[in-house]
């Protein structure tokens, strides 16, 4: 079967199947999508899967039933969303994936769905490791604050980071536990790990929220974040940039949630009949003290 086509129209009814809305990043993403749709005057059917891949498939099915023109899908996971992609294809509705891809052995961009727009979690982890490597000259005892156990950003950001330090004998992860991507949990875990491993010299957090939690844990333990312990993380939130400016954090790798413009632009290109590349790469910036001050204004 061919990839469904998109007719050129003035107004579209598009679906956006969001994964969850329980963190600032997701909220910024949703806002960006809604704002762009409003700007273009499109009707947006928005659903929220509340963190369940299965519900997200059901959400996509209800969009299909409502006969939307195109579906933007931010897949909760790589594998369980395949049926949703396939169902949309069967119903003749093109799908554009946002921020996470689906399993390439089961569904292919350009054949089963239009394209994937997003960044690379593994690469993000790698860049964080690189930054830490440079700042510490390759010697660090690292505490890793993982994201939600079993979630794909957690798995990938861990993989990218660990792959990088594998051949750096001076860099060692001395403790690694999940902080659920949350500030409070991240703080509590950091408090505990710092107690058990007072020799830690660096913290790698899978997102900025946990990094901020770790900063307050360090302060409570009487250590100086940014001096006694270096912190790197991923996302590029305003809070994190502020922390970098204050010298409490080393760096953060951007993972930009503002998908709206690029998503709808890609849709327009597709409607015109352009050939879309299988991966529309989001170029993510890198924030450290060299650029944090200039860029904090447009952080989310």
């Amino acid at each position: 079967q061919e990839l469904p086509k998109l007719k050129q129209k003035d107004k579209y009814k598009v679906g956006f199947a969001q994964t969850e809305s329980n963190n600032p990043w997701r909220i910024a993403q949703t806002e960006s999508m809604k704002a762009e749709a409003a700007k273009l005057g499109y009707q947006l059917v928005y659903t929220d899967a509340a963190g369940s891949a299965a519900k997200q498939v059901a959400d996509v099915n209800s969009m299909i039933a409502q006969g939307v023109d195109l579906i933007f899908l931010a897949p909760r996971e790589e594998k369980p969303l395949i049926p949703a992609v396939m169902a949309a294809k069967k119903a003749g509705i093109p799908v554009i994936l946002l921020d996470r891809n689906v399993d390439q052995s089961l569904a292919k961009a350009g054949k089963d769905y239009v394209t994937f727009i997003g960044s690379d979690f593994v690469e993000e982890g790698r860049r964080a490791a690189e930054a830490l490597d440079k700042a510490t000259n390759g010697t660090a005892k690292i505490i890793q604050l993982e994201g939600t156990t079993g979630s794909s950003p957690a798995n990938d950001r861990r993989k990218g980071f660990e792959d990088y330090i594998k051949n750096k004998p001076g860099m060692k992860i001395i403790a690694s536990q999940s902080g659920d991507f949350a500030r409070d949990k991240g703080r509590q875990v950091a408090e505990t790990l710092l107690q058990a491993h007072p020799d830690a010299t660096a913290i790698y957090a899978h997102n900025d929220e946990m990094a901020i939690g770790a900063i307050s844990a360090l302060e409570a333990a009487g250590k100086k974040p940014g001096q006694d312990v270096q912190i790197v993380s991923i996302d590029g939130t305003r809070d994190a940039l502020q922390a970098i400016i204050d010298g409490k954090m080393l760096a953060t790798v951007e993972c930009n949630p503002k998908f709206g413009p690029k998503a709808f632009e890609t849709m327009a290109r597709y409607a015109k009949g352009e050939q879309i590349e299988p991966w529309v790469v989001n170029t993510d910036r890198f924030f450290d003290k060299s650029n944090a001050k200039q860029l904090i204004a447009d952080a989310y």
Partner: protein
Amino acid sequence: MADTATTHPPAPARSTARPDLRMFLTRHGAWVALALLVLFNLAVTPNFATWQTLNVNLTQVCAIVIVAVGMTLVIATGGIDLSVGSLMAIAGALAPLIFMGKLFPLPHLYVGIALAFVVPVLVAGAFGWFNGFLITRLRIQPIIATLVLFIAGRGIAQVMTNGNLQVFKVPEFQYIGLGRLFGVPFQALLMLVIVLAAAWMLRRTVFGRQILAVGGNERAARLSGIPVVSVKRRVYLISGLLSGIAGLIVIARNSAADANLVGLGMELDAIAAVAVGGTLLTGGRATIIGTLVGALIIQLVRYTLLANGVPDAAALIAKAAIIVLAVWLQRQARS
């Protein structure tokens, strides 16, 4: 006939002579479990015997204990309150809105801070009272009545803040989470006061007795003139108020209010603490001090697993086993 009791041989003094291990375990099962955990940590966990460890554990357990005290009272009446986490989120979302002047203009920051302590707690209390209203007036079963706010309550908090994180730095307000009095974290003192007050209330006051009577046999309690309806409404109100306080502590500690996450999963932690502490989940019997010990046990288990680098998946299994073990120890001699 007035002396029937004395015509019987006096009943032998109740086995005071036998220092029975089982009896000991029943009475002090939770304490024994706590002591074992501490001993284990002393032997295994690096840097365990420090003030900072105590500090970390105390500050992490406060919110759970405060919520669990309210939960104990609710459970003592034979009910349950699933909405505590959502109420924490509501209180947590409301406080910054107030002291940051987003709801109404403030004449002075201190007015805002004072209101930020009082209003969110009262609002959470009002929602708690609403739970009680559903249960007593509409006669909806507690688990379902409070499920309503479990679902909707967090939504309300998110709607208030549009889901956004509210970041702030207001030391006066954050005293409740960060302050220290005589070197002891203020929140720990607050927790202690609440625990002692509730324990005293449950043992010594009419209200405490009424709570247990309602949980023990509601129909009998009513026929004995106990105002069942108002007793129930009051315990849910208290549970709401305490959840509100816990919500404030959590946001103060984090310098940020996140309606999505404040208090998430708190209901299960609190219920587990109550059960591990030895309170009967069917109502009619309750111990506040037990709840404190139960919460400490759960906290220490979490600390132990984290500090020793047990992977999260395995930690879940270990946590399950320890909860079962602790509750089983309690049950041992009772049967």
